[in-house]
Amino acid sequence: MSATNRSHSCCSGYTRSQLLRSAAAEAGKGLPAIEPGMPEPAGTGLSRRKFLSRGAGLALAVYGASKIPLSAFETGIAQAAQGDKILVSIFFDGGIDSLSVLAPVGDSRYAQLRPNLALPPGAGTSFAEDPNLQWHPAAAALATLHGEGKVSAFPAIGYDHPDQSHFTSRHYYEIGELQVSYRTGWLGRYLDAVGDEENPLQGLSLDGSLSPMIATAEKPVAAIDSVDGYDLWSQVSDPIEAEMFRSFARFGSLPSDSPGMSQVRRAAAQTDKLRQDLAGIGDFSSPVEYPDTWFSHKLAGLAAYIAVGLPMRVVTVRAPGGYDTHADQAGDLESNLRETCEGILAFQRDLEARGLADRVMVEMWSEFGRRPEENGSLGTDHGAAGCAFVIGSKAKGEMVGEFPGLSSLDADDNLRVTSDFRAMYCSLLEQWLEFDAEAIIPGASGFARPVLVKP
């Protein structure tokens, strides 16, 4: 291959794929029908048969060639195919202005505090659960899903003694605790508890770097920068290539004598594992039309991954754009929020079309909300309570915590908190992932358990 051509990738993992495919074909005398209990082929999307026949090893999970023992990954696929639930976390980076997403147009102080930035009454859909609130016009797609009872909104989520540092507050949300020393994410601890030793896809970040939210202590997790493929290029081809990767994996399995060394080894081992697991992944199509944006493309790829049964439990994605709108807030927020919400609506419609919507829940969050009073540069500074949303066919669809109003703000003139993010986490763990929150969230017994999931 030519290393100057970025899109030109080489044939990593191809040998193993061929080998397994021929082994599967031989064991079953041609490719047998998909086994009972397996989900239907995506049909309109990435075909399960096509995908699996291209992916290394995956053929076995479906075609049941029992002559060759299944790897943990292949077992994972089979298990995931039986209906494991998936939580997708979407992060508004920078502190989204909740008072624009759900604008309190019915609050008399809103226009006073936001002489330039207040949204006019009637600009967007009214929020049915609190007539004082109104969806931002750019969040119309979210309003649509809310109207279908698929969105639980938290209009003033946060925690006591809110910290207005991006990094501290975001860290709290990522680790699920109000302290700075934790190194594992709240979903990372969940994966450490239930995850597999061999399956990096169980915790997957789609943004080219691992979200601290799924940072584990032990279990493998993965990040990819594109849903279109994951391969390692080199000027080496088979049969030497396979030997090269064996030795790369060896770098990953030798003992470590320092945290730095262990970081490199862990990354090498997981990279080699993911290379095999995702070999051949690539082309997919969707049963619904997505907006033509990179964010939507990621969600479309994710839906296709779910459809073919990749063994994911927790997936993280960043919403497009940045939300730290200290200046000229209106335009940036409008376009980024629209792109996000329209992508999520298409994703939901895709899952519905594929019959997968009952398996996926989306949680959307930000590190804080913004100051109710606008600043002098048509922007807003860091605030306290913000907004969060739990979205999906199985979402309860009821507001959690009321909007506290702008007439009484906290000591720093910020929006008061009416729900705790850790309560949201506890409910998602227990009601959606069906795992005891006490084992994951410190002090879990002290938090409410808002009903977030339909029975």
């Binding site: 290539e241 490199v264 997981q270």
Partner: protein
């Protein structure tokens, strides 16, 4: 970084780019980013207070943290907060309050610029836009200016420990012991906040040479590789390769800079792998067209690959793993036509694996 004769200056410029992380995302021109980078180069060994003041009114920083949109009528807190949290004092240490941030923002009011075809230019202090009232910051009241704002941070009793630990962390991955840290703080405060003497002491510490290694930032790994291989910044591919590895210069992820604890995951390791593939272009062998030595032994193969990399020191277990690879590859040669090509492929595999070995990723 690749062709300099003063690598420490380049390394400090990179450190300060991370410390005062400014992104081209909100800066009009790349030239303004280059100017900021040159500011770091020229001031990286001098007084931190001088550096801090220069950064505070640097056009790129004024745009990035809205210092140019901070007027007495309606202060913008962005720079006031980050100058304390990220640049001089640190979060969660009780060093400042939200009120200090608001008062500090008033002290910083008054900077503005004009707007033209190229974006923001002609940055200047506009006395009429500055809040001349008294401000109380860290319990000290006065008609503070932007210069005072910087001085108040540097004079804060929690600043020397912040400075020392932050600078230390770029070189040594374990925190200094209390007495070492206190010694460095005394050096720093006693020198009138000079960077150079603290840096010299850190660079003399045994922990730097004997302590645990750290993961090189992607651009440092790339620069090291290019210097080793005798290559230059000869393709724009380095930009996106480094970006995929997690570090695009002039585009840090946010104002807190790059997270040195998170350089490696499956996505970023893959990017480093691919970076090595690019770096080896022209050095890797063309297995099917070159006549490769049909008698090369595994030992000779490894020696040749190491020589191409400028003979880096590999840990013995990594060397052993590579030798095993060389031997296994040779065992695959079954037909005489494979003798040369498979050995050439083996050479490329060894070159590749040396590039992604822990030895080259760690420093």
């Amino acid at each position: 970084m690749v062709r300099t004769s003063q690598p420490l200056v380049e390394r400090m410029a990179l450190i300060l780019h991370d410390w005062f992380a400014t992104s081209n995302a909100n800066v009009s021109t790349t030239q303004q980013m280059i100017d900021q980078s040159n500011l770091f180069r020229s001031r990286c060994f001098g007084s931190f207070l001088d550096l801090f003041r220069a950064v505070t009114v640097d056009p790129a920083m004024l745009q990035w943290l809205n210092g140019n949109e901070n007027y007495k009528w309606a202060p913008n807190e962005n720079y006031a907060r980050e100058m304390m949290e990220l640049f001089s004092l640190g979060a969660d240490r009780g060093a400042y309050t939200e009120d200090d941030i608001r008062e500090q923002a008033r002290a910083l009011t008054g900077w503005r610029n004009d707007w033209g075809d190229v974006g923001a230019y002609n940055f200047r202090f506009e006395p009429n836009w500055h809040d001349t009232g008294n401000k109380t910051v860290f319990g000290r009241t006065g008609n503070w200016s932007w210069e005072d704002a910087c001085r108040l941070c540097v004079e804060h009793p929690l600043h020397p420990s912040f400075f020392v630990e932050k600078l230390w962390s770029y070189f040594i991955p374990v925190t200094p012991t209390a007495d070492v840290r206190e010694g460095l703080e005394q050096t720093y405060a006693g020198s009138g906040w000079q960077i150079r003497p603290v840096l010299e002491q850190i660079l003399m510490r045994p922990e730097l040479y004997e302590g645990p290694p750290m993961v090189k930032p992607p651009v440092v790994q790339l620069a090291t590789m290019l210097r080793r291989l005798g290559r230059h910044v000869d393709t724009e591919a380095w930009v996106w390769l480094c970006e995929e590895a997690g570090q695009r210069l002039f585009w840090p992820p946010n104002v807190s800079g790059w997270d040195d604890n998170r350089w490696l995951d499956t996505s970023r390791m893959r990017a480093r792998w691919n970076m090595v593939t690019y770096a080896l272009e022209g050095i890797s062998v063309d297995a099917w067209n070159d006549d490769y030595d049909e008698d090369e032994t595994p030992e000779e193969a490894l020696a040749r690959a190491l020589a191409s990399w400028g003979s880096p020191a590999l840990r013995s277990e990594h060397r052993d793993a590579l030798l095993e690879l060389a031997q296994r590859s040779e065992n695959l040669i079954l037909a005489s036509w494979q003798k040369g090509p498979y050995r050439a492929l083996r050479q490329n595999a060894l070159l590749q694996l040396i590039g992604v070995s822990p030895d080259l990723i760690l420093q």
